[in-house]
């Protein structure tokens, strides 16, 4: 039964890749990345193996913990869990819950991330080569470690995977925020450990020992304990590891059972008369598109998470600058997130999915559609950019730069949206459907998304360069005049690009509308 499900999983993958050469290219790049990462990890472990027991214990314990945490967070933020086969889809088949869970565990192990993790964990054996006891213990504990990775991701996914779960999406957004902040959190932790002059070995040791008692890394620490002759703690940690596995299994089991008895969707009565943005829009195609676009920006996690980034990125950069925010450089911290925010809807039509048919059916003029979408995105993004600007400028204490920063930030937002008004009339890429897990990974997506976005970022940067140059003059001269000029130029260029984008994109859209719908059906089918 497990073998059948596994074959099914590979068949689905094969069909998906055969259908689209682009997805195949992306998939190959994914494998190349995994192989490269794996080689580096294996090499590093061998080298560390030569440098003493303490070093190996530290690295394996921390590395293992990061693996388990990564696998647990992946279903929330990266769709890292394999969604080709799900418990709900296996429900009609005569399988017991145990068989379903076993099959899904094996499927999780058999994907690219699973294989890479297993090989990476096995390469830790190389590091233990000098200690026979550890080698023997590793042969048991490392597979258990890999198993806890898979079970952790399945257990987490079984919470978030419930369709339309607003709670699930909220959790996802929270996890996403935390993940974005891991860099600063880690630097902060390391800063506590290290002082001004590098790492303090004793403190690192203490952290590793403490960490080894937690469920995420107990299993990884056992071989090292045994090698050091610490049998008591070693066995106790093995107990923790086994208990963790049992707990994860039971938790996952509970959710699988619950999912099999509860309906997939429930309709709750909602009151009438709540038109929200739709109720505020002036009549006409532009107004209607604006209201729809704004409703999605403020309600759909696929858009919403980008607004979270704008709020979080300045915090991240502040960490990077070691909290030295009282500088002119920090005043401009909002410009980068604003620029990125402007480029978010660069494949806006892809996010519609086949619902785009209802736009096309109204016979909307391209210019109205472009304008509605652009205004919707601007209404959602501009207030946030203004608030973040005021806060960051206030923190930097450089009030004279406020107009310049506003000009650069809003200009970058407008210029980006202008670019998107054109690009989204051409481009259709596979994206998660509305209501799907926001972070669902669409195979083959990341490579091309990255490539085209890089190009648009450059173009957007060029548009905002004049305002930035004037802002720089304001910084160096301290004159308010340059600052105000930067505001005028930034807004002027941004508005110009936005208008041009609507006009050009509108003309493209008029010709390409039906083709876009055809390509949406071909790429995603929903």
């Amino acid at each position: 039964m497990v073998a059948t499900v596994l074959r099914l999983r590979y068949r689905i993958l094969g069909n998906m890749l055969a259908r689209s050469p682009w997805q195949l290219v992306g998939f190959v790049f994914g494998i190349v990345g995994a192989v490269a990462g794996l080689s580096i990890a294996a090499l590093g472990l061998v080298v560390i193996g030569a440098s003493g027991l303490d070093a190996v214990r530290g690295v394996v314990t921390i590395g293992g913990a990061l693996l388990v945490v990564g696998w647990s967070v992946a279903p929330l933020v990266a769709g890292g869990v394999d969604t080709t086969v799900e418990a709900e889809q296996l429900a009609p088949f005569p399988m017991t819950t145990r068989q379903v869970m076993l099959a899904l565990t094996v499927v999780g192990l058999a994907g690219v991330p699973g294989i890479a993790t297993a090989l990476g964990a096995l390469s830790a054996l190389a590091a233990w080569a000098r200690w026979p006891v550890a080698l023997a213990a590793g042969a048991v504990c490392l597979p258990l470690g890999v198993l806890s990775c898979v079970l952790a991701s399945r257990a987490v996914a079984s919470f978030s995977g419930r369709r339309r779960g607003r709670l699930g999406n909220l959790l996802g957004l929270l996890a996403f925020g935390v993940l974005v902040l891991t860099g600063p959190l880690l630097t902060g932790l390391l800063g506590l450990l290290g002082g001004e002059d590098g790492f303090d070995a004793a403190r690192v040791d203490a952290v590793v020992t403490g960490l080894a008692w937690t469920p995420v890394s107990a299993v990884w620490a056992v071989p090292g304990d045994l090698a050091a002759g610490e049998w008591g703690p070693g066995l106790a940690r093995l107990g923790i590891a086994l208990a963790t596995l049992a707990a994860l299994w039971l938790l996952w089991r509970r959710n699988v059972v619950a999912a099999s008895v509860s309906p997939r969707r429930q309709t709750v009565a909602g009151r009438t008369g709540r038109l929200r943005w739709v109720g505020l829009a002036p009549t006409g195609a532009t107004g209607a598109s604006w209201a729809r676009s704004l409703s999605y920006w403020l309600g759909d996690p696929r858009y919403l998470r980008n607004l979270v980034i704008v709020a979080v990125l300045p915090v991240l950069l502040a960490f990077g600058m070691r909290w030295e925010v009282h500088t002119p450089v920090f005043a401009f911290v909002v410009v980068l997130p604003a620029l990125l925010l402007g480029l978010v809807p660069y494949v806006d039509v892809s996010y519609d999915g086949t619902a785009f048919a209802s736009v096309l059916a109204t016979g909307i003029r391209g210019r109205d559609d472009r304008a509605g979408r652009l205004l919707g995105a601007f209404t959602a993004g501009a207030p946030l950019v203004v608030v973040v600007t005021v806060v960051t400028v206030a923190l930097s204490g450089e009030w004279v730069l406020l107009p310049a920063v506003l000009g650069c930030g809003l200009g970058a937002l407008l210029a980006g949206l202008g670019i998107c008004a054109v690009s989204s009339a051409y481009l259709i890429v596979p994206v998660p459907a509305s209501g799907d897990n926001v972070f669902k990974r669409v195979p083959g997506q990341s490579f091309w998304v990255g490539l085209s976005l890089m190009g648009f970022t450059l173009v957007s940067g060029v548009f905002i360069a004049p305002a930035l140059a004037l802002a720089e003059l304001a910084v160096f001269s301290g004159l308010a005049l340059w600052s105000w000029l930067a505001l005028v130029v930034g807004l002027g260029v941004g508005a110009g690009v936005a208008f041009a984008g609507v006009a050009v994109g509108g003309r493209v859209f008029d010709a390409s509308g039906p083709l876009l719908l055809e390509r949406i059906r071909a790429t995603s089918g929903y």
Partner: protein
């Protein structure tokens, strides 16, 4: 039917409509003339090309060859004008399902530029007609299949189009709502509106429609008045006779229970 000297402009006329997907001809020179004020049924087996034909006729899918015009306006030359006259219920597409049912109908009305105060009344009427009052404030994503179909139908009606193109309108709709909708569509055609409906239910087409076209393999096998097409037999019998593929077996031996 007798044809007057100056033939009235049909509500929908398609000529030589063709479309190929990956080398396979899905729609092959389809010709249809849907008279104004008629209730026109489009039937055919799965994969006959009904949805593809309707998509091309309503400006959602560009044909490889052929023309489509609505009340004399070429759909592909002047899409904006043609589409204002069409109320379209497409099959197999999503809706903007993060909006509530009420928001979605209101939004669709705004797209067609209806005045807001007029629209409030129409939205309330449509919600009542579709029996969606209870769920009006619920996101369409949470609707059942039948409720989703009904709200999509409401969106197709909201701008009072001259031509309604309904692809599988009664699929998974409950019998009470279906009967109510049927009444409304009847009085709509009686007042001069035109309805084209694609369906797999021969009984429904025979009961509701005055004209019918049978499609198979991307071609029109027969088209005309319902009485004329079925020629004394039931539409179901006539359909099976024309399309073929009926097997009179008892099914495979392994499926029989005794």
């Amino acid at each position: 039917m007798s044809t007057p000297a100056a033939a009235p402009v049909p509500a929908l006329a398609v000529a030589g409509l063709s479309k190929a997907f990956g080398g396979r001809l899905a729609v092959d020179h389809v010709e249809l003339a849907v008279p104004s004020g008629s209730f026109y049924g489009l039937v055919g087996p799965n994969g006959a090309g009904k949805t593809t034909t309707l998509s091309m006729a309503t400006g959602l899918l560009r044909p490889d060859a052929g023309t489509a015009s609505v009340h004399g306006v070429d759909v592909w030359a002047d899409p904006a004008v043609a589409k204002r006259m069409i109320g379209n219920l497409a099959d197999g597409v999503r809706l903007f399902d993060r909006l509530t049912g009420e928001q979605l109908i209101f939004y669709t009305g705004l797209m067609f530029g209806l005045p807001r105060d007029e629209l409030a009344g129409r939205t309330a009427d449509l919600l009542r007609l579709m029996d969606l009052g209870e769920a009006a404030g619920t996101p369409v994503a949470d609707y059942s299949a039948g409720m989703t179909k009904k709200v999509a139908l409401a969106c197709a009606l909201v701008h009072a189009p001259r031509l309604l193109v309904l692809d599988e309108p009664f699929e998974s709709v409950d019998p009470v709502s279906a009967a109510n909708i049927e009444d409304v569509l009847r009085s709509y055609t009686a007042s001069g509106g035109t309805v084209i409906v694609s369906s797999h239910s021969m009984d429904l087409v025979q009961r509701m429609c005055d004209h019918v076209a049978i499609l198979a393999g991307g071609r029109v096998l027969v088209a005309g008045g319902v009485e004329e097409v079925r020629g004394g037999a039931s539409l179901q019998e006539r359909f099976l006779e024309l399309v073929g593929g009926r097997t009179h077996a008892e099914g495979p031996a392994w499926l029989r229970q005794s």
